[in-house]
């Protein structure tokens, strides 16, 4: 069965390593924070100037001066630090953030990503997304395999305005884990109970399938 958002977040949490500095985008990536394995230290970076995002505050500790990049009130963990936007993006652009997780409208088999603009419909701006995708050491996209109309979001070529080119290395969807390789998309894992055929059908671009494709470990 296709994964729900929490299932996708759970699978992505497997990509984390102890000591990682991670930037979580809005949407499914935010949920990943709930599945960090206990005993593992992962430090969350917020591009508006916080290293060490903590959980949402209790009602009586809400602080208007302490928000995340989604403008939600948050807390800061022990050992956190605050800094200005130029230093925050120095961390991102300089490759100090180990992993960036973000959502997308479309990803191409070259690793191009479209995530910020739907002409005539959505023109709110790219925020920090272009900086993140152009700079991060490793970028994983979390998204549904298909859009609301059932059309594949894994394409030969993106149709929407790009956020970045050739930057996505891995995509985790409700159906599969797909890597972007020199030869295009490669199927790495299946969601539990999802067949290779179903994934191929939901993928507009060609999909390399080599040998047995294991199911995701969601333990």
């Amino acid at each position: 069965m296709a994964l729900d958002k929490n299932g996708i977040a759970k699978r992505i949490a497997k990509e984390l390593k102890d000591g990682y500095y991670v930037n979580l985008g809005i949407g499914i990536p935010t949920l990943v924070a709930n599945y960090i394995p206990s005993g593992m230290e992962v430090i969350l970076q917020s591009e508006n100037g916080l290293l060490g995002i903590g959980p949402f505050p209790p009602d009586d500790e809400v602080d208007a001066d302490l928000i995340n990049a989604g403008k939600q009130t948050v807390t800061a963990v022990t050992g956190a630090s605050f800094f200005d936007s130029s230093l925050s993006f120095a961390m991102i652009r300089g490759g100090h953030v180990n992993l960036t997780l973000l959502g997308a409208f479309e990803v191409s088999e070259k690793g191009d990503i479209a995530s910020w603009k739907v002409p005539e419909k959505l023109v709110k701006g790219m925020g920090g997304a272009m900086d993140l995708v152009a700079s991060a050491k490793r970028i994983i996209v979390a998204m549904q395999h298909t859009n609301k109309e059932g059309e594949s979001k894994l394409l030969r070529q993106c149709t929407l305005p790009l956020t970045g080119v050739g930057c996505v290395k891995r995509i985790v969807t409700d159906l599969a884990v797909v890597d972007v390789t020199e030869n295009g998309f490669k199927l790495v894992e299946r969601a539990p109970g999802i067949s290779v055929e179903e994934i191929i059908k939901a993928t507009e671009a060609p999909l390399l399938v080599e040998g047995d494709i294991p199911e995701m470990d969601l333990s």
């Binding site: 809400v62 939600q72 200005d84 936007s85 130029s86 701006g125 790219m126 925020g127 790009l162 956020t163």
Partner: protein, 231 residues
């Protein structure tokens, strides 16, 4: 040499029509509330505003949009504002969208005398149109230029009479870099203290960058998305 002014009205007295202003803040966090109110009550028109966001309807920069004082916005993200969208769609407002990190660095560069620099953000996207592209270390980069402003309107937590500023938590955001880039930088602070009261090791923006300072009042500090955990 006295940098202290009485209030926001005195601080903005010489901002004229068609001025370029930078406005600190991220969303509604760390915005110069008093200065924006004073500006919205002034007759200044045709402003170019460099600000990461455009406020919300009727608050923050939203005030200046409601009064039609803004000709052009230079921002990274301008959601959360219906009047903004209306003016944009109606062609009444010009908007230039810039990746957030590039925006921050362009402000810092403006303050630091660095007229241009290369960044990878935006390569291969519409942001790259008309920009010089160059490869460094096997990766493509765009040449971006510095931003400066006639006035930078910023907000700090504490400030002293020499203009030294300290920000609090994530309310710093763009205030520091924009404070460097204003030809005249005006700082409003929650608490104005005598010189010598702040630890000289912990000054985020040294007074050399700040031309005017005053203690603001009646901070609303609106929250865009109040998110709490159930305890």
């Amino acid at each position: 040499m006295n940098k202290v002014v009485k209030d926001a009205y005195e601080a903005i007295r010489d901002i004229g029509d068609n001025a370029t202003i930078m406005v600190g803040g991220f969303g509604l966090c760390g915005i110069p509330e008093n200065l924006l109110i004073a500006l919205s009550e002034s007759r200044v028109r045709g402003l170019t505003c460099i600000s990461n966001n455009a406020g919300v309807d009727g608050f923050g920069l939203g005030k200046l949009l409601n009064t039609r004082q803004v000709r052009k916005m230079i921002s990274s993200y301008v959601g959360e504002n219906k009047e903004f969208e209306r003016q944009l769609m109606a062609g009444e407002l010009e908007v230039e969208l810039i990746p957030q990190g590039t925006l921050a660095e362009r402000c810092r560069a403006g303050g630091a005398g660095i007229p241009a620099f290369f960044v990878p953000a935006g390569y291969g996207t519409e942001v790259a149109e008309g920009k010089e592209v160059r490869e460094f270390n096997g990766k493509m980069h765009l040449l971006e230029t510095a931003l400066t402003a006639d006035f930078a309107l910023i907000k700090a937590w504490k400030g002293d009479t020499k203009g030294n500023l300290i920000f609090r938590a994530t309310a710093n955001n763009f205030n520091q870099a924009m404070g460097m880039a204003g030809r005249i930088t005006i700082a409003e602070v929650e608490e104005l203290v005598p010189a010598g009261s702040l630890d000289p090791n912990c000054i985020h923006l040294p007074g050399i960058f700040v031309q005017r300072i005053f203690q603001g009042s009646n901070y609303e500090k609106k929250i865009e998305f109040r998110t709490v955990r159930s305890t």
